[in-house]
């Protein structure tokens, strides 16, 4: 167990280092500096700016400096917003994005799993057909279209909810719905397939033969076993919600990290892009490691020992 965890963490760190290095090199090699604008800056000011941000040092020195900063947890300054650092921008946005993300994950699990179970129990009946239709639509329709539709109907036509910004629960309904629809569809489909598979197994027949009630068979035997595959996609699911939040936060003008990331791309704010990329990569890698560690705990059939050790 411990060996597996250590190995997994080392692997994650290596990936992170690879991403940081690649990103750093890509952004430094880019044609046009961060201060290239429509209006040309006077050479003296440009020189001062470049000295301030140490852009004239050799690449390898800049790289080492950046890493020194990273070890202190410092992601550097923002090029566009003079008095702000990448850290402060992330710290400002993170609570909002975190709230949005957690609620979306929970909603997609709370609706997706029961929908999948119903679909499997009513296999081939009208409930299953309708849910399948909704599922494919949920997978196929991009989040920004869902968001726009919600905005037109709920906010503009019916005036039920505020169109944008961030505040109480009223402001959260549409973004959370838009963010969780896709993942919900994926979960529904996966739960359905896995549940159908489990229901066909011999131990379910045995449970019925023993005279157990439908309720016990479903809750004690079928459901726990069919949820194991759902855990495996939690990683990609969270990644989907995180990247989905870039667009959703921008549409609803939510002051989260995702919106800041998109703005930094529009602004070509290199240090901010670099910092955000590292932040997001680290987050996703960390979550994947957590899922990988939890998964074997849920399913005793999967051991973390490799063949050689077994």
């Amino acid at each position: 167990m411990l060996e597996f965890v250590v190995k997994r963490i080392l692997n994650g760190l290596m990936v992170l280092w690879l991403i940081i290095t690649l990103t750093f090199m890509l952004l430094r090699l880019m044609p046009g500096g961060p201060f290239t604008m429509d209006r040309k800056l006077p050479p003296a000011i440009l020189k001062n700016l470049e000295t301030k941000y140490k852009l004239n040092d050799p690449l390898i020195v800049q790289y080492c400096d950046y890493f020194k900063g990273l070890f202190r947890g410092d992601l550097g300054p923002s090029f566009k917003y003079e008095d702000r650092t990448v850290n402060s921008i992330i710290a400002d946005g993170a609570p909002v994005s975190f709230q949005l993300g957690i609620k979306s994950v929970l909603l997609s699990l709370l609706l997706g799993i029961p929908a999948g179970v119903i679909s499997a129990l009513k296999h081939g009946k009208w409930q299953d057909r309708i849910l399948s239709l909704v599922t494919v639509a949920g997978i196929a329709i991009p989040g920004f279209i869902v968001a726009s539709l919600l905005m037109i109907v709920l906010a503009l036509k019916l005036n039920l909810l505020p169109t944008a910004m961030w505040g109480g629960w009223k402001y959260q309904v549409m973004p959370i719905l838009a963010l969780s629809l896709g993942p919900m569809a994926v979960i529904t489909r996966l739960t359905r397939t896995s549940m159908l598979d489990v229901l066909g197994q011999d131990y379910i027949k045995l449970a019925y033969a023993k005279g157990l009630s439908d309720y016990t068979v479903l809750w004690k035997h079928a459901l726990p076993n069919s949820l194991i595959p759902v855990v495996t996609i939690t990683g990609p699911l969270i990644a989907g919600i995180v990247t989905g939040s870039f667009v959703i936060e921008s549409i609803f003008a939510i002051p989260g990290v995702g919106k800041a990331f998109v703005t930094s791309i529009y602004n070509r704010d290199y240090t901010l892009i670099l910092g955000m990329t590292i932040f997001y990569s680290a987050l996703l890698i960390f979550l994947n490691i957590v899922v990988d560690i939890i998964y074997p705990l849920l399913d005793p059939r999967i051991t973390m020992l490799t063949k050689k050790e077994a």
């Binding site: 880019m30 991009p142 920004f144 726009s148």
Partner: protein, 304 residues
């Protein structure tokens, strides 16, 4: 011993009885097509896809407008007989822009998927075929790359490269092949232990021939399914990139760019978002349904 006789006639009769029951012999692809034809949704989807492709290729020739032509006296006109989908803020005909958008979005979907497939087949095929240490090394490399969140990685590449069609092909092409490589490798690994490969070995076929003539054709079903499902994924990702301002350059516009422009005037002219969104949804739904139908038709596990 003399009185033990083998009467073979009933057995012969049995075989002939079975022969009568046999369905006409069909190749794998004929059988798959027969199954697909029974799936109404998949057929309808195929029809929609063919229709959209034809409209994208032929449509612009029959239109009086071009995608960049601006009519300054008809700005933000609602849909009418003259402009079927209305006009945008620069007085451009939206119908023709959606048709041109189809060309761009579809070609992105197809080209990107084919690049992914090409790299995936070569990498995964080699890894599976060579096996042993090489396989382990090659798959470790894929595992490491798999840890990189691919959307963020594509965004970065697009920030680095200038926005444009070729660069989208490049960035998305080199970012999305990992899944394909894993899938092809898995298929090759399970196929290469089978007798027909051994037979090919014994009559002296070399590795290259075995891969291209024996292994890949047998993995083709799974490859086709994955390709069909990769196309909508690429269109989806491109729409997403365009949406955050990293798509093709103006005045060209993919569906994602059109939708993005539509959102900015959502409150006043909702039709400008509606039509590009409709095109995106219809295409993605059709490809997904077709992919699901193909999976049912081609997946050997489903064959009875």
């Amino acid at each position: 011993m003399e009185n033990v006789s083998f009467d073979t006639s009933p057995v012969v009769q049995d075989i002939s009885a079975f022969e009568d029951m046999k369905t006409p012999s069909m190749s794998y692809w004929q059988d798959a097509w027969r199954r697909l034809k029974q799936n109404k949704y998949a057929l309808l989807s195929l029809g929609i896809i063919v229709g959209i492709i034809l409209a994208a290729i032929i449509g612009p020739f029959f239109s009086a407008y071009s995608y960049s032509w601006q009519e300054l006296d008809s700005i933000n006109h609602s849909p009418s007989w003259e402009h079927w989908f209305g006009t945008d803020a620069l007085g451009r005909d939206l119908f023709i822009r959606v048709l041109y958008g189809a060309r761009i979005s579809l070609s992105i979907g197809v080209v990107v998927s084919l690049i992914n497939l090409g790299i995936g087949v070569i990498y995964g095929g080699m890894s599976g075929l060579l096996g042993g240490k090489v396989d382990r090394l090659m798959m470790n490399f894929v595992d490491i790359l798999y840890g990189i969140p691919s959307v963020i990685y594509v965004i970065l590449l697009m920030v680095f490269l200038k926005p444009g069609l070729l660069n989208i092909f490049l960035a998305m092409g080199i970012a999305g092949w990992l899944g394909m490589a894993r899938m092809v490798r898995g298929q090759i690994l399970s196929l290469k232990e089978q007798e027909f490969v051994l037979a090919a070995h014994t009559i002296g076929a070399n590795r290259k021939r075995i891969l291209w003539q024996h292994l890949l054709p047998n993995a083709m079903g799974i490859i086709v399914i994955n390709l069909t499902l990769a196309i909508p994924r690429a269109i989806f990702l491109e729409a997403f990139l365009s949406y955050i301002g990293l798509g093709v350059a103006a005045p060209m516009a993919s569906w994602g760019v059109l939708a993005n422009e539509g959102v900015s005037v959502l409150r006043v002219y909702p039709y400008q978002l509606f039509f590009p969104s409709l095109a995106i949804c219809l295409t993605l739904l059709a490809f997904n349904y077709l992919g699901d139908g193909l999976r049912d038709a081609l997946d050997p596990k489903m064959r009875l």
